[in-house]
């Protein structure tokens, strides 16, 4: 698939001298969902704002659908929909009017059927004539999404779309993202919620301190960086790990009745066989056995901590 969004050595230094982006390079394929993870102030919003035209880049080159965002900004922006992090809406305007306005702003003719479809999909149809100020926080976020979709974008930026919304809306949002993906829309999502990235993204980018620490296929990232843990539940608790069993990565947990062994799935020798043999040799009786893969959250925290150190 061709690159729908291409970012080359993008840098942004604000007037005060703060360097928000330090040479970000990223290619995003058409129809792909990429989640950008990073702590507050990592540069996620600056990256999105720059691509969308809200912030002027200091240097670097960005193209959307092959169109340069500075020299061919009309064509580039026509492809983009943006759901901002802040809930910014005209409080006295009616829902349907503000969505129509967004479509008009992109130079599209009125299309009431499409607006109705979008509003229905976002459960806003019944509220179409309500003033924005009458809506709940979650509903306002839905309006922001409706506005972003009103001109049928091919690339959708979702800047922390589920921050502070209830579980129902979050799941609903994931469903909408899945629908959009099925339509071939490229989606760039920033989030604090790791499970969100885990649930919907094809690739994960980790950004911190204005630098893209890594971008990788989600499953590969999980496999490559993921550590697995094996929990051996014993029938009888131990006071300490028997010397015959001692090896790196092994610890005694619970009330002395759980042997926890952490191992690298990519290593040539994981050490599981030796551990199980040693347990049998020591005459320990097992009650249960389970394995668990480290979550994306743990991977993310590790990466950011490494970046800081």
């Amino acid at each position: 698939m061709s690159a729908m969004l291409s970012i080359r050595d993008l840098r942004k230094t604000y007037d005060g001298g703060f360097q928000a982006l330090k040479g970000v390079t990223l290619e995003i394929r058409e129809g792909e969902i990429i989640a950008l993870l990073g702590p507050n102030g990592a540069g996620k919003t600056t990256l999105i704002s720059t691509v969308c035209g809200i912030t002027t880049p200091t240097s670097g080159k960005v193209t959307v659908g092959g169109h340069d965002i500075l020299t061919d900004f009309r064509a580039a922006r026509a492809l983009i929909g943006l759901v901002p992090q802040e809930v910014s809406l005209e409080p006295f305007e009616k829902v349907i009017k503000t969505v129509r306005f967004s479509r008009g702003l992109f130079g599209h003719r009125r299309d009431e059927a499409l607006i109705e479809k979008i509003l229905r999909r976002l459960s806003l149809w019944d509220k179409r004539n309500a003033q924005i100020k009458e809506l709940s926080g979650g509903m306002k976020r839905r309006v922001l999404i409706a506005k972003a979709l009103a001109h049928e974008p091919r690339v959708l930026f979702l800047d922390e779309p589920t921050a502070g919304v209830d579980v129902e809306l979050r799941k609903d949002m994931w469903g909408i993202v899945a629908d959009l993906k099925a339509d071939g829309v490229t989606i760039i999502l920033t989030t604090h919620y790791i499970e969100e990235a885990e649930a919907i993204a094809d690739r994960i980018g980790v950004i911190n301190g204005g630098e893209l620490l890594l971008v990788e296929d989600k499953d590969r990232l999980m496999t490559r960086l993921g550590k697995k843990r094996i929990e051996v539940h014993l029938s009888e608790p131990l006071d300490a790990i028997p010397p015959a069993l001692a090896q790196p990565g092994l610890s005694l947990e619970g009330e002395g009745d759980v042997l926890m062994f952490e191992y690298d799935t990519q290593a040539e020798r994981t050490g599981i066989t030796k551990l199980l043999n040693d347990i049998a040799g020591a005459g320990l009786v097992l009650r249960d056995l389970s394995t668990r893969q480290s979550s994306l959250e743990e991977i993310f925290v590790d990466l950011v901590t490494e970046g800081r150190s």
Binding site: Y14, D15, S49, C52, G53, I54, T55, T56, F73, R74, A75, A76, R77, A78, I80, L82, P84, E86, S88, L89, E90, P91, F92, E93, K97, R100, F101, S102, R103, G104, L105, F106, G107, H108, R109, K147
Partner: protein, 253 residues
């Protein structure tokens, strides 16, 4: 040119106006009536005529200009300041629109509202006094140009303002004094010679004089000069806006 975007901004701005139509309509009717009661009847009855025109009729062009100028500025400045204030400006900045299109949408809507109010005042004034309109086309031209140029100025103020206080600062401290001292309620020939000369540095004098000429065929300053002044002011505002959009001053970080 993204005409659809211009129309969308224009419609969106006008819908704000229509939401408060009664206030928009009643406020100028009431204030014009008050001006006529105070200046036209109470004070005006003691001033027989100004340059051969009854005082009540004489103040009509000045009254219209006073409202049109303040309305153009406040509508345009609020129109662009409000999205900045509530954050919805992101939508304008990320849309495939040029700044020219944004200006046309906002300034067009602000000028339309001011034009509407100017017309309401004209009609209200006609209920109180009789006045001729010697050059109707010139009258409309002056009115439209004034609405447009001061809406452009209002747009600049809206971009410049960082808070609501600043939004009010220029209209209150600069524009209102200039309009009041610009011959809205008197002919500058009524002033002592020194003040007549000083007044000529007030750009609003040329607008009011030209506008008054279109009614009574009599002016304080030559009509050509009035047109030149308003054209120059429009060009100045356009120049400033062009610079703002080139640099992204107070809009883009």
């Amino acid at each position: 040119m993204n005409w659809g975007a211009i129309a969308a901004i224009y419609r969106f701005e006008m819908s704000r106006f229509f939401r408060t139509l009664m206030q928009s309509f009643l406020s100028p009717v009431l204030s014009t009536s008050l001006y006529f009661v105070v200046f036209g009847t109470a004070i005006g009855s003691r001033i027989e005529q100004v340059e051969g025109i009854s005082y009540g009729a004489f103040i009509v062009p000045g009254l219209i200009m006073l409202s049109v100028i303040t309305q153009s500025i406040s509508n345009a400045s609020f129109g662009i300041y409000f999205p900045k204030f509530i954050g919805t400006i992101y939508e304008l900045l990320s849309a495939p629109v040029t700044f020219l299109e944004i200006v046309l949408g906002y300034v067009g809507a602000a000028a339309t509202k001011a034009l509407f109010i100017g017309t309401v005042i004209l009609c209200t004034a006609a209920l109180f006094v009789d006045f001729p309109i010697a050059h109707p086309l010139a009258m409309v031209l002056f009115l439209v140009l004034t609405c447009l140029s001061f809406a452009l100025m209002g747009f600049i103020i809206g971009i410049w303002a960082k808070n609501f206080e600043q939004l009010q600062l220029v209209p209150l401290l600069v524009v209102t004094p200039l309009v009041f001292l610009g011959g809205s309620f008197y002919s500058i020939t009524m002033l002592p010679p020194v003040w007549q000369t000083i007044t000529l540095f007030n750009p609003v004098v040329y607008l009011i004089s030209g506008f008054r000429w279109s009614f009574f065929d009599a002016a304080d300053v030559p009509v050509g000069l009035s047109l030149l002044a308003i054209a120059g002011f429009t060009c100045l505002c356009l120049g400033v806006i062009w610079w703002i959009f080139r640099t992204g001053w107070r809009i883009r970080s």
